[in-house]
Assembly symmetry: C2
Homo-oligomer: 311 residues x 2
């Protein structure tokens, strides 16, 4: 059933998304001692894989209700993804953003036609504003990662990748809220040919690693990581999928993330956000584990402030 | 005859180069009011189109002589291209570099197996060292841009582009030494379907613009441009080709180059060197001229120092 859901999701969103290019680097392969292909979601519309999940979730709303629009709270890529996906479907997008979100992110959401509401930067205030807007407008609330339609939308990136590279041994994604990892895990377990799905996570916000170990959803004490897309925690929809279909989660240090990010910029000529470098950092960290393997890496996105790079 | 030479060059170097991806951005198209496709030579081996010319020139050396290797003087991409192309053909590469070349560039040449000789940073000293090495070793001297085999090698980038996009109205390249522009002009005049070839040049080093105007090779008074790949001047091999086959050369200011470069990084998620942004800057500068046209842009390379970006 999941297998068919992935295929259906792919067919549904296909007209509205890019089938993103897959790139590789012989230099990085030599350095890492394995064969890596990078699925470039930084080239996706609005610059991140989130466009897939947002589009799928919107298209799954019953048509009459869809016209009322969608509402979400996010200060990151999901806000832009919902704004652009809603614009594409010609419905309103209400985006609640915390007052401490960078102006450049608010502007990007507005450029995509999103209607921004600013609130106090607490999770309670964000959720309260979302609920109120949903009540007033009839808009459907969307969660960035803990929603099956979002997860299925995200699954289409690795689905495309496995169509081009059906013999991959491993597919690696970063893990933050868990929506990309869960979607990828569903694809790998349904379409992989002896392929394993792994997550990569900053050690500073290793809630997913600890959740897998303890068997219940753990939270982070702090969000001190450069990988700003990975500061969120798992939810009750994606965690069971991750528990069932993900082999392991590898943790990497901040310096390892910056090192991997710089290599991707320098050698692959790709603008990627720090979160996207976390899986490659994991490959570099465990050379014995990955040696000579065929590895797919999902480059999650490329939305980064060029004026504050870590190198 | 030229037509067949381009095809032969392409067949000759094809096993040793990447057929580079072509990318586009609906945002940038909307901004510029035209349809642009970017031929990404920043994804080429060693990160620049120069790999094409260097490979073709090396493969055109008669086999007995080829074994003695090649020699060139360069502090830029051509040095790395010759080093890597020679390594691929398993012959020695002797690279003369000025003492003021950045260490990172010397290191890159050595990483590709090039044998670096450091000399005083004058053109006379560079040429003297090249001649001496050629005499001592029997190595064949290679010029970065003023050599027909190099030009024909360079022509293969636009040849690939026109195969994928046969209806382009214009192909634009940056112009420095003139090797890429001349090669592209040969392709466009032989394989273009009512297609025009244009050059784009920093106004601060507008020797090519002035040469086309005066009918003789002009030089630059200074090399004050951020587009470090475009500081060189035309030669007697490529200038006649440019005279015959290039419609016009558009000049852009330094601030326009930086603006265009930042847009390519931010919106296309591509790491490109300043020289590569010059053609896009030209498109932005002359919206009326380019409006609604189908435009091919050669992204010349992506070798840039990430620690000293202009934004």
């Amino acid at each position: 059933m999941t297998r068919q859901s992935i295929i259906d999701s792919y067919q549904r969103i296909k007209p509205y998304i890019h089938n993103t290019p897959v790139l590789s680097s012989s230099y990085l392969n030599e350095l890492a001692g394995c064969n890596m292909v990078f699925k470039c979601e930084n080239f996706q519309k609005m610059g991140a894989f989130k466009m897939r999940g947002a589009t799928n979730a919107i298209l799954n709303i019953e048509k009459n209700k869809r016209q009322n629009g969608v509402v979400t709270h996010s200060s990151g890529n999901f806000a832009q993804a919902v704004a652009l996906a809603a614009k594409t479907q010609e419905i309103p997008a209400y985006i609640v953003m915390p007052s401490n979100a960078p102006n450049v992110k608010k502007q990007a959401v507005q450029d995509y036609g999103g209607q921004v509401t600013i609130c106090k930067p607490t999770i309670e205030e964000r959720e309260r504003h979302c609920a109120q807007i949903a009540l007033e407008t009839g808009a459907t609330p969307l969660h960035p990662s803990n929603d099956l339609d979002v997860i299925l939308g995200n699954s289409t990136s690795s689905y495309e990748l496995l169509q081009d590279y059906p013999t991959l041994d491993v597919i690696l994604t970063p893990v933050g809220g868990g929506g990309l990892l869960a979607g990828t895990a569903l694809t790998v377990s349904n379409f992989g040919n002896d392929c394993h799905c792994l997550g990569a996570e900053p050690a500073n916000v290793d809630d997913a690693y600890r959740s897998l170990a303890s068997g219940k959803i753990e939270v982070n004490d702090n969000i001190n990581t450069i990988a700003d897309g990975l500061r969120t925690t798992l939810g009750d929809v994606n965690f069971p999928i991750i528990q069932q279909c993900v082999d392991r989660i590898i943790r990497v240090e901040e310096s390892e993330i910056v090192h991997a990010m710089k290599l991707i910029w320098e050698r692959m000529k790709l603008v990627v956000e720090p979160s996207s470098a976390v899986p490659f950092a994991a490959v570099l960290k465990e050379p014995d584990f990955f040696r000579n393997k065929q590895i797919g890496i999902i480059i999650s996105g490329g939305n980064v402030d060029l004026t504050s790079l870590p190198f």
